[in-house]
Symmetry: C2
Subunit: 459 residues, 2 copies
């Protein structure tokens, strides 16, 4: 079988699991799993979820007296959107009524129409990405442009599907910006090597890099993709994880439609979203969707067939997507509480983004761009030659060596930068900003103490 | 992109959808989706599901007063098995504690040990099958033995993965039995054609054919696979849909261990199970698992990595699997109601299996083996030459022509036999036995009237 590498759940996580089983307290900051670190689910969503699981509760007056009326109404409405209830297969693209809610949400977000027939729900965004890559990759000559550093879903899936990854580098010194000239060079290089360059992936806000793309950046990217006739894969799963005001989230779809003309009508764009991130953070329920823009109807038909083989995305993920794109409105019983819960979580994430990046920037030899969005900090770490030598002797990449030492010393489980790709000669690590506020300062304190000792040891 | 064919959600279903949208009442018997046709979910399961979705309900005394105490206790216990709750990613193979419950269930079912480390939970059984085929198929020379007729998950996935399907025929005249001599010939034929025959799929109880394999049949099959060094893929998703006493379900794992010796220690067996079938019928929640027996640890490691790319199977599917393999016990508050609900559904399925196959056998030119298990009847239909000619003129396979005419005339949506494969020169259709009891006689009446008119028209 084809082998693959998937660092986010790699050596560090396995060692962390071993230590945890042996009784050590481990802080898993290796994966963006907010509820595992104490982020509270949204009350309204969970009320509706409980009721759609057990519709007989809706017939019990003593029970419904304990639920807000909008949650009850929403649960009844949800059940009409899922014929047969949550235990029945739905359309292989997900419930048409919920896909219409997504289309309405996208139209409201972008100010441009969205077609529910071009939306597919999936078990989280990852299977949607894989489905697209499967449609794009025919053999090893088919190449996909992927940012470096990248989220390893892309490298691992491309590897498994037998395609080629064509890297383009984000510039750390200018806030992980992307450069169209670099993209153009890489495409030329790929084509010179006989590759058919099929698609361009970008992640906005960035994972693991945490940057937010500007409107102009997106415009350049879209025009470049149109020029080169590439399918644009827009990983926008962190669209509501924004921690500053200068660079608000702008969707590729909106910029595409703003550009207008033949680009708006012809560029093939696929954008991905999920319930796993944002302040909803429902990773475990596995809900995601993709919107297909300007994709040929025959290709959509083939993707529908591929989706059909898996029968139906899970219904609770669909319910959760519905609740994400169609929230309580002003005047609804749950509105104020819902807004407050979301605001509390977002404000806390903003504070933690600052605490984490400030913490890293105070360490000797470490620099870290501010986490403008998403859920991660990705500091660059400069290690003394003796540490590099010790890593070599241990048979490990230097960043893995550092992260393992950090794990053993502090219980903090991170992911080495090599798992995401990094410029030759540089070292990084990725950590989430998710440790809860009452412990994140302790995390930074432990990290600082470890780093000082590590540097002293190998200086 | 690679094209594929998936008949269960093919032309018939699309036409059915069109008619439904135009206001026609359509009876979807094309897919095994019991709750969509009114099968009631099990109350205990749904009570637990509601509580794990909204753990704050457990703190509300007025609410828990309305729940049986074992459902409350089970929900509390379930939450300890899912760190972070249902909103958090779990281990990529699913919760270790729930996998242990599965292992205990398998050990109790088979009388032989089962190892939770060799169990993977997935979003329904289909992704587990695909994951295995992905591990087995390297290129088009890799061949998988698949029964004909078969469930098209297999043909479609093998096609998508670029492998080869090596068919072996079930014998309709002897109750869809499988014949080891035929298998041996097919393997020889495949090898003569330069194929690497990698695995043997069987479906017990059969889909679409509804037969149950005898102990001796399974023993022959296993010994044959061992002799030929094939991986055995045992699709046992209908293991509790058994409608007669002569051929109870026997797992391949049990027979393998009974055989003992080198076969028991060496034959690579992968068996699949799901929450979608049986009397639980929770299709929409997408829960499934596979048990890997005698699979090399390195291969298991690679499969773990593939599972990791998709992060985690959905938690509500995991909850439902836990509830399927670990049911209320004698003495528990919900025990009697649970047993009664299951018994009611099973008894009804048995009656419907008889009504359906009896109904088909009364039709001119139609014969139908009794549905011993699973959820389908697969009658053979002999059409007059004028009907075959009319189909040819319409540019359709004759079985599709018949099924479309049935759909237009009666609203009954079936799947043509050609979607599953059938012996050359024969015609079949597949229907589920799932229409509810208060309407199944009406279904048979409509079918009978249609068939008579169809035969009269083309005789």
């Amino acid at each position: 079988m084809r082998s693959t590498v998937y660092a986010v759940r790699g050596e560090l996580m396995q060692r962390g699991e071993e230590l945890r089983k042996a009784g050590r307290e481990i802080i898993f900051t290796n994966i963006g799993n907010p509820q595992a670190l104490g982020q509270k689910p949204l009350s309204f969503n969970r009320q509706v979820q409980a009721l759609v699981n057990a519709p007989f509760l809706l017939e019990n007056e003593r029970i419904i007296a304990e639920f807000p009326e909008d949650a009850i109404a929403r649960a009844r409405e949800m059940l009409t959107k899922l014929p047969g209830g949550v235990g029945a297969y739905q359309d292989s693209r997900g419930s048409p009524a919920i896909r219409q809610e997504i289309a309405d949400f996208l139209q409201h977000r972008d100010g441009y129409p969205s077609n529910a027939e071009h939306i597919f729900m999936t078990d989280g965004a990852s299977p949607a990405v894989r489905m697209c890559l499967q449609a794009l990759i025919r053999d090893s000559r088919d190449a996909i442009l992927v940012p470096i550093p990248q989220y390893p879903l892309y490298s691992a899936s491309i590897q498994l599907l037998g395609g080629s990854l064509l890297p383009y580098h984000l510039k750390e010194e200018s806030g992980w910006s992307m450069n169209v000239e670099d993209l153009r060079n890489q495409v030329r290089l790929g084509r010179d090597n006989g590759m058919a360059v099929r698609a361009l992936v970008f992640i906005n806000p960035g994972n693991p890099t945490g940057q937010c793309l500007s409107y102009q950046n997106l415009k350049d990217l879209i025009e470049f993709a149109a020029e080169e006739k590439l399918v644009l894969m827009a990983d926008e799963v962190y669209q509501t994880n924004i921690y500053q005001d200068e660079l608000p989230f702008v969707s590729a779809k909106r910029v595409l439609r703003d550009i207008g003309g033949s680009v708006a009508d012809e560029l093939e764009l696929i954008s991905f979203h999920t319930i796993s991130k944002g302040v909803i953070g429902e990773c475990g329920l596995r809900g995601g969707y993709m919107e297909l823009v300007n994709i040929h109807p025959e290709v959509i038909g083939e993707m529908y067939k591929i989706a059909s083989i898996n029968l139906s995305p899970n219904t609770m993920g669909q319910v959760s997507i519905s609740l994400m794109v169609n929230e309580p409105k002003p005047g609804d019983t749950s509105y104020e509480k819902h807004v407050e819960e979301k605001g509390t979580t977002l404000a806390s994430l903003i504070r933690r983004a600052h605490i984490m990046t400030d913490g890293f920037n105070k360490l000797e030899g470490v620099t870290c761009n501010f986490t403008e969005g998403a859920m991660y900090s990705f500091p660059r770490i400069r290690l003394p030659p003796k540490a590099i030598q010790a890593a070599k002797e241990a048979g490990k990449p230097a960043d893995t060596f550092y992260c393992l030492a950090l794990l053993e010393a502090t219980g903090i489980s991170t992911v080495p930068g090599s798992g995401f790709g990094q410029e030759e000669g540089t070292l990084h690590l990725r950590t989430t900003i998710l440790p809860p506020e009452n412990s994140i300062k302790e995390v930074i304190a432990r990290l600082t103490k470890f780093h000082e000792e590590f540097m002293d040891k190998y200086r």
